[in-house]
């Protein structure tokens, strides 16, 4: 298992390797996938979860923030899908799981750029599912509700509570809720499931 992020990771597990890089840096990303091919010969699953958010009213959102969010969330996800598919298509296919968000279908005020970037991920997921289908690669996305992570650390408590009220099951998500959907997408029996966006908490 190989993980990557801009900063070093504290996560440790047997067989886990970590690579520090900017997910939108094409040269570095290609190098990483090349090293994975060299070392492991094949790639079976990509969990494409790198993402950043910035909660702010559009009138107060600097263009630099917009570019940063699009670079990481859209360009980074695209690059990883493309490079992962190159490794998967020369093997026996594979599974790609992208990360969406409930902020997109809920049209959350204050999250215009983040939600728009994830709308792009949804479309990317559905089109890549078709483009990669003949290579036995499935492409799906999971759309989590807010989870207690750094991503929502700066969001006011009342804002999160308002959001939770709009879910069918009004609670924060847990890592296991997300892991469950990923497990479903990557299990062998799910080979006929592709192009799907599964939102948690009863959001649609």
């Amino acid at each position: 298992m190989v993980g990557c992020s801009r900063e070093p990771s504290t996560y440790q597990a047997t067989g886990y390797e970590h690579v520090c890089l900017d997910v939108s840096d094409e040269v570095k990303v290609k190098q990483m996938f090349g090293q994975i091919r060299k070392k492991h010969q094949r790639l079976e699953v990509l969990i494409n979860n790198a993402g950043i958010a910035s909660m702010n009213h559009t009138l107060l959102t600097p263009l630099a923030t917009v570019r940063k969010i699009l670079e990481t969330n859209v360009v980074g996800s695209f690059l990883f899908c493309r490079e992962a598919a190159k490794s998967m298509m020369t093997g026996e296919g594979g599974r790609i799981v992208n990360f969406s968000t409930v902020a997109t279908p809920l049209k959350l005020e204050g999250e215009a750029v983040y939600a728009a970037s994830k709308a792009a991920i949804n479309t990317l997921t559905q089109i890549l599912a078709r483009e990669f289908a003949s290579q036995n690669i499935t492409v799906n996305a999971v759309g989590p509700t807010p989870i207690q992570t750094d991503l929502i650390g700066a969001v006011p408590k009342e804002k999160i509570e308002d959001l939770l009220k709009r879910q069918a099951i009004p609670r924060l998500g847990e890592f296991s809720d997300v892991a469950n959907v990923i497990d479903f997408f990557i299990r062998p029996e799910s080979r006929f499931v592709t192009g799907q966006i599964v939102y948690l908490g009863g959001v649609s």
Partner: protein, 101 residues
Amino acid sequence: MTKKERILRCVLSAVDELNEGLPRAKQLGKTPEVVLFGEQGSLDSLGLATLVVLSEQRVEEEFGHAVTVADERAMSQHRSPFRTIETMADYITLLVEEERN
């Protein structure tokens, strides 16, 4: 062996792997002048994409660094570098030379 010959060998090795997944009637010939795409070409867009990816991987293994064959310049050229096996090898040679400089 020259750099161009090494790259041609990479592309031909990619053709071998591509042919393994194609019915005999659709398999590509293995000479430099074989037309890949467009008029008289034997590959569809997916076949060409697969050949490009396999060639990139062979070149990376041969020279130790990644190249992006389907870059913006390749896509905007009036005469596509993906027309024949030889034009593709020429284009990859150019990319590898530029990478070295």
